[in-house]
Assembly symmetry: C2
Homo-oligomer: 150 residues x 2
DNA sequence: ATAAATTAGTTGTAAGAACAACGGTTGCCA
DNA sequence: TGGCAACCGTTGTTCTTACAACTAATTTAT
């Protein structure tokens, strides 16, 4: 069944990260943001939330944990004091090799016995579907709002 | 990025179900088990856990909630008193049309602008990847066990 | 220029899930 | 037959997340 397969893959990724990271003092949710920051240092929380389609509260809490562990710093933007940007510390950069290695290992795990061609098509389709889901999220919000108003 | 796309789809499905089901008194996690039971009434909890690759404790708690709502009954197997099978009640069957409709709607949402051919290939690849993940879960457990033992 | 609306981030609450320790059954086997 | 291992389900804890209500800062409109 499609739903359970997708769910198994998504949860499997979390379990994989969680088990492999046990010794490094960071969790699965944290490492996902961390890896993004390696390519997009100084991101705003709102932008992180939009990229991952995660609730902004969820982003806030995960970044707080990374800050407490001194893996990132969060700095208020002087030009717009509503904003905070997250910056990697030396301790954060020290984890980069471990994190990218884990991502590589996870991809190898997923794509065992799958041709490069098949993988390419898969990634493209996944991206299209994620876009469909993202667009429609707003429609469900409207449904939800109406149900609440009545 | 592949990881975030898969995560967006999986979480999107949960959000979709949750928002649409608000009025029916059942939650996203519950409806997934419910739909499976329509095709596999009288399932053992262990079998549900294996099918969905969910922790048996998670299955136990979700079934308890469905039982409390009188959507299923859980009956101890007289031949093996360790086992409980979950059976749909009339109230459970009354929700079948709503549930299957929601699944259809979700599939339509995901596959907008995606050809039948592309969808078939996608589902096949997702299934292969889920199988890869499932197989490798055991390996990570061993890694985990060794790390703990040392 | 001030009031209203929008935007960014925070926090409390609740659902979903993994993990680990536990208790009762059953099966095995010595 | 008696003990031990394997199996099935339960429960407490923790992590991840969505949602909603909130504060503070900025922008827009009158």
């Amino acid at each position: 069944m499609l739903h359970s397969d997708l769910s198994i893959i998504a949860r499997g990724s979390e379990t994989f990260m969680s088990r492999c990271l046990g010794d490094f003092g960071i969790t699965a949710a944290e490492v996902i943001l961390l890896i993004y920051l390696y390519g997009h240092d100084n991101s705003r929380q709102e932008d992180l939330a939009e990229y991952f389609m995660l609730d902004k509260g969820t982003i806030a809490k995960t970044l707080q944990k990374l800050e407490k562990k001194e893996i990132i710093e969060r700095i208020v933007n002087k030009e717009d004091q509503r904003e905070k940007v997250s910056c990697l510390t030396d301790k954060g950069y020290a984890l980069q090799d471990v994190c990218t290695d884990l991502v590589r290992l996870w991809h190898e795990t997923m794509f065992q016995g799958i041709t490069a061609e098949e993988g390419k098509i898969f990634e493209r389709t996944v991206h299209k579907i994620a876009a469909n889901v993202t667009e429609n999220l707003e429609k469900w919000e409207h449904v939800y709002g109406r149900a609440n108003a009545s």
